[in-house]
């Protein structure tokens, strides 16, 4: 059987350079589009005749074929739709033509995409190109042919021969990846010799033997001779091909994904998408067979649907994590519910990632491939913490102790960072860990810390500098994680807070607990006992209008909130930016003396204060631009003057309660 032509990411198709052909012929293809475009315009203007319509239809037909060959599959589909629309014997009317104009525009957009983006993307685990994947050696030509046809149906290249001698020649000329041999074929020497030769080749060729007896003896004998798989006849051609696929996956190092979902259509889709990227997919449509499937396929990753009848994915995941053998198996949840609570529950159960349905194919592939690659790297590196991809606790303690010793000797500062993610999840830890790693210098140590926390020892960095860096990281994780999780970070500096890792660790943990008490998504520096205590108020009112200020103060204090009132922006900024004061919410007037409210808001944002404090702007009713600017600068809300006091109090309450007020 001949090889199926296949385009590759390198732009080759059966050894031909696709990019060069595209470059040479794209002008012709664009001319063909122009013919269609002119016909559509003529139809809109009611001057299209049947000849023109037919000519345009012919061009669309040509385009559909050409574009598909170049890998412009969407373009081909659009051209096909145009061909169908232009084919009828009735003239296209203006209304129909207007609909066709959308297809023409989309077609032009598709054709202007770079060629490389159109060619089928090679998977990260590509098959060996060129050679037939399977060589079937079988004396019974009908049966062998059916196996070859079934293999072709599954996209496997296959060749056929009836003798071991011919097989040897074919293997020498064009080595396959798997040879399927009927044990009854015994010419030109012993089958054992043939199997031994295949095993001895570099790269070796996998072998599968078809035996005829039900007893164990022949199977054991075949395995002893070096066969990597044994099937007992009679066996349907499809079963042979499936066994070959599994063997190929093993021999190629192709990762296997086990997909568990009660929706068979979705399973097929997942198989197609992941299969196209070089992944072997085993499908399972009921949870009862999960453990058997895990033992059988030993997957590299489990795709787990959460919404199945009878049993939910979260329970299965918990059970999986409780099983020592599968505790480290990457699990990606497929969830129909996008609710943050549900996702938190999945992560808490041990999910590595969650993909919401409907699933984007690209997104799914990226996540699966990424997770498998990371899992492989981590398996190869026992010093790497599986949850975060950073150094394990033991490795971190070693590195940090060494760095602290160096800092002591050189009289350099160092800062220990301890961070906790709430709720704890591997994905969130990994995200924060990655950011910490990226922001750290090469000599810094970043790793896991007892209690499922993250830690970093920043060599040569003061607590102030470390706080600035960590502030940015917390902001970034907050932006990407939304309300999914909160990051609380504590810092302790050497030599101020201690010089050994244990003392610094304890100090950093205390600071981290303060950050948690402040509502999370915060960075706190360890302050020695007896140090100055921070004043925390519910609301800071910044308004120079005495009458309005009096009313708002009266209303706020009457509701039991702690309030401070300042009359100018510069003073408010100075207070909020200082170490000893924090307001959960700021009611900030726009028109202030010295420094206007929008400038204050901008600077609060620049200094990272808005993550601890919500700002409600008091704007002027008619000034829409002012409102938009305030919201863009990070204001939590705005209230336009004149306002209803009840509405203002409601919004203040929302702001205050969101920041951990009682």
């Amino acid at each position: 059987m001949e090889d199926e032509p296949e385009a590759s990411a390198g732009g080759s198709w059966g050894g031909v350079d696709l990019a060069a052909i595209w470059h040479a012929s794209s002008g012709i293809l664009h001319d063909q589009v122009s013919v269609i475009e002119r016909a559509v315009v003529a139809a809109i203007e009611r001057r299209l005749d049947l000849d023109g319509q037919r000519a345009a239809g012919r061009e669309a037909h040509k385009l559909a074929g050409s574009l598909g060959t170049f890998g412009f599959h969407d373009g081909s589909r659009l051209a096909r739709a145009l061909e169908l629309a232009l084919a009828p014997s009735d003239l296209v009317n203006p209304t129909q033509a207007l609909a066709l104009s959308r297809l023409v525009i989309d077609l032009q957009v598709e054709m202007n995409r770079p060629l490389a983006a159109q060619t089928p993307m090679a998977g990260p685990f590509p098959a060996s190109p060129g050679a037939p994947s399977v060589l079937v050696v079988d004396g019974k030509s009908d049966r062998a042919r059916r196996v070859v046809e079934a293999a072709a149906g599954q996209g496997l290249g296959a060749a056929l021969t009836s003798t071991l001698a011919a097989a040897r020649q074919m293997v020498d000329a064009n080595p396959p990846e798997v040879v399927v041999v009927d044990a009854a074929v015994r010419d030109a020497g012993d089958l054992a010799d043939f199997l031994g030769e295949m095993a001895a080749r570099r790269p070796s060729v996998a072998t599968m033997v078809l035996v005829s007896h039900a007893g164990l003896d022949e199977r054991v004998e075949a395995a002893r001779m070096g066969a990597q798989a044994v099937l007992q006849k009679p066996v349907p051609p499809d079963a042979v091909v499936q066994a070959v696929s599994r063997l190929l996956a093993r021999t190629r190092g192709t990762p296997t994904v086990l997909a568990l979902d009660d929706d068979p259509t979705f399973l097929v889709l997942v198989s197609e998408v992941l299969g196209a990227h070089g992944l072997a997919v085993e499908r399972l449509n009921n949870a009862e067979g999960l453990w058997t499937a895990l033992e059988t396929f030993e997957p590299d990753l489990l795709l787990l649907d959460n919404d199945m009848p009878g049993v939910d994915g979260i329970s299965l995941c918990r059970a999986l994590r409780g099983d020592e053998r599968w505790a480290r198996l990457p699990v990606i949840f497929l969830s129909g519910s996008g609710s943050p609570d549900m996702q938190r529950e999945m992560f808490a159960a041990g999910a590595d990632d969650v993909v919401s349905k409907p699933v984007s194919a690209d997104d799914l592939v990226t996540r699966v491939v990424n997770r498998i690659q990371r899992s492989r790297v981590q398996t190869e590196r026992p010093d790497v913490d599986l949850a975060t991809g950073l150094s394990s606790e033991r490795a971190f303690v070693e590195d940090a102790t060494r760095l602290l010793g160096l800092a002591r000797q050189g009289g350099h500062p160092a800062t220990l960072v301890v961070a906790e993610i709430d709720p704890p999840s591997a994905a969130a830890m990994a995200a924060v860990g990655r950011l910490v790693r990226l922001s750290a210098a090469a000599e810094d140590a970043v790793g896991a810390w007892p209690g499922g926390r993250l830690a970093a020892l920043l060599y040569g960095t003061t607590a102030t500098d470390a706080r600035m860096r960590l502030d940015r990281i917390v902001q970034a994780t907050r932006a990407s994680g939304g309300d999914m999780f909160r990051t609380s970070v504590g810092l302790a500096a050497s030599p101020d807070n201690g010089q050994d890792l244990a003392t610094l660790g304890s100090a950093a943990e205390q600071a981290m607990e303060r950050a948690q008490l402040a509502g999370g998504n915060a960075v706190e520096v360890h302050a020695p006992a007896g140090g100055s205590r921070s004043e925390v108020v519910d609301v800071l009112l910044v308004d120079d209008d005495e009458a309005l200020g009096t009313l708002v103060m009266h209303a706020l204090t009457g509701r039991g909130w702690s309030v401070r009132w300042l009359r100018d922006g510069a003073e408010a900024l100075q207070l909020l930016d200082g170490p000893g004061f924090r307001a959960r919410a700021v009611l900030l007037d726009v028109g202030l003396p010295e420094l206007d409210g929008l400038s204050v808001l901008r600077r609060l944002g620049q200094r990272g204060i808005l993550r601890d404090t919500r700002v409600v702007m008091l704007t002027v009713r008619a000034n829409e631009g002012e409102v938009l600017e305030a919201l863009e600068l990070g204001a939590f809300d705005h209230v336009a003057k004149p306002f209803s006091l009840s509405v203002l109090m409601l919004r203040v309450r929302r702001a205050v309660e969101g920041m951990g007020a009682p």
């Binding site: 664009h30 475009e37 002119r38 559509v40 315009v41 809109i44 203007e45 009611r46 203006p94 209304t95 033509a97 207007l98 104009s101 959308r102 023409v104 525009i105 989309d106 032009q108 202007n112 209008d545 005495e546 009458a547 309005l548 009096t550 009313l551 103060m553 009266h554 209303a555 009457g558 003057k641 004149p642 306002f643 209803s644 006091l645 009840s646 509405v647």
Partner: protein, 351 residues
């Protein structure tokens, strides 16, 4: 020759007059300063009392009583200061406090004054702290434009359907201040005035109807459509322009049909307004009718047609591409220009 003694006398008198004036000014300033100093603690008390009176506290009456103990100028000042910043329930309580203190009654008396500035002061107070529902409508016909403008502004906040006729009439006031304030108040009038404004729209014709349509088109509502459609064939081009403008905002099958008809209007401004309305409604079916307008003799029409073709959908884009090579250089230029603006030019389209 003027005797020296006489000149000296005049000089002394002048100096004395200037001295007296300066002394009077200084004494007045001193008096003001002294009053400001004396009033400062009273204002603080007044603000606290007013806050208590309007914030919904159980002891609101105590706040009112405390305010009553203050001089009326302090009462008036604290109410004026705070009234501009509150609305809703607190605004209504503020009106009650102003009534209880007699400030509203005083303002109403001022509205009847023979002096326009006192009427203005009264209208302003009633506008700010309420209580003018009965007194203010009469001032729509006040001889002084500043007073009328104050009442027109109040009407925008009052959102009363019965004021719609007065507001519409104010669009044709002799004073520009009143006309602009009226347009603003009509736009702020809110949903409660729409039906009344639609009725007013039907009752007018000609330039007055056009003026009202220009304002209403900025906040279009389907209830204005009937009156606009009735004026689509009016003789006055300015009215047809305003009709096209409004129909482009409200949409609907009849509006779309009317706009298509206006594309062939004899007046260029109407054709341009119709094309613009079609662009806003994204009527792709209008593409065949828009295309010929790229060859229109009026630049504004060509510009509006180009923008509409670029904005209604892919059919318009294809037409514009086709017209880039039109025999009419003005049409070709506008097609290119419109495609440039739409940033949708085909990479091979450069000339």
């Amino acid at each position: 020759m003027i005797p020296v003694d006489f000149l000296l006398t005049v000089l002394v008198v002048e100096m004395a007059t200037v001295g007296v004036c300066l002394t009077a000014v200084a004494l007045h300033a001193l008096g003001l300063w002294h009053r400001t100093q004396a009033d400062a603690p009273l204002l603080v008390r007044g603000r606290a009392a007013l806050s208590k009176a309007i914030a919904g506290d159980p002891d609101a009456n105590e706040g009112v009583a405390e305010l009553r103990r203050l001089p009326s100028r302090v009462q008036s000042e604290v109410v004026d200061q705070l009234a501009v910043s509150v609305t809703g329930e607190e605004g209504r309580r503020m009106t009650g406090v102003a009534e209880a203190l007699g400030l509203a009654a005083s303002a109403r008396r001022r509205c009847r004054s023979r002096w326009w500035w006192r009427r203005l002061q009264g209208a302003y107070r009633l506008n700010v702290h309420g209580g003018g529902d009965e007194a203010l409508p009469a001032l729509f016909r006040d001889p002084h434009p500043a007073v009328r403008a104050q009442v027109i502004e109040w009407a925008g906040d009052a959102q009363r359907a019965d004021l719609a006729a007065d507001l519409v009439a104010a669009l044709h006031d002799s004073s520009a201040l009143c006309r602009h304030t009226a347009a603003d108040s009509i736009l702020r009038g809110g949903a409660s005035m729409v039906d009344a404004l639609a009725e007013e729209l039907s009752s007018y014709g000609g330039q007055q109807q056009a003026d009202l349509l220009v304002v209403l088109a900025r906040r279009p509502d389907p209830r204005y459509r009937r009156a606009a459609l009735a004026a689509v064939a009016d003789d006055l081009p300015a009215l047809r322009v305003a009709v096209a403008d409004l129909l482009g905002g409200v949409g609907g099958a009849e509006a779309s049909e009317a706009l298509l008809g206006l594309l062939t209007d004899p007046d260029a401004a109407v054709r341009a307004a119709a094309a613009d309305g079609i662009r806003r409604l994204r009527l792709e079916d209008a593409v065949p009718s828009l295309a010929p307008l790229l060859r229109d003799e009026s630049f504004e029409v060509r510009r509006a047609a180009g923008a509409a073709l670029a904005g209604v959908g892919p059919g318009g884009i294809l037409l514009l591409r086709h017209y880039r090579s039109d025999a009419d250089p003005f049409a070709a230029d506008m097609a290119n220009h419109s495609l440039d603006i739409a940033s949708l030019r085909h990479p091979g389209d450069e000339d």
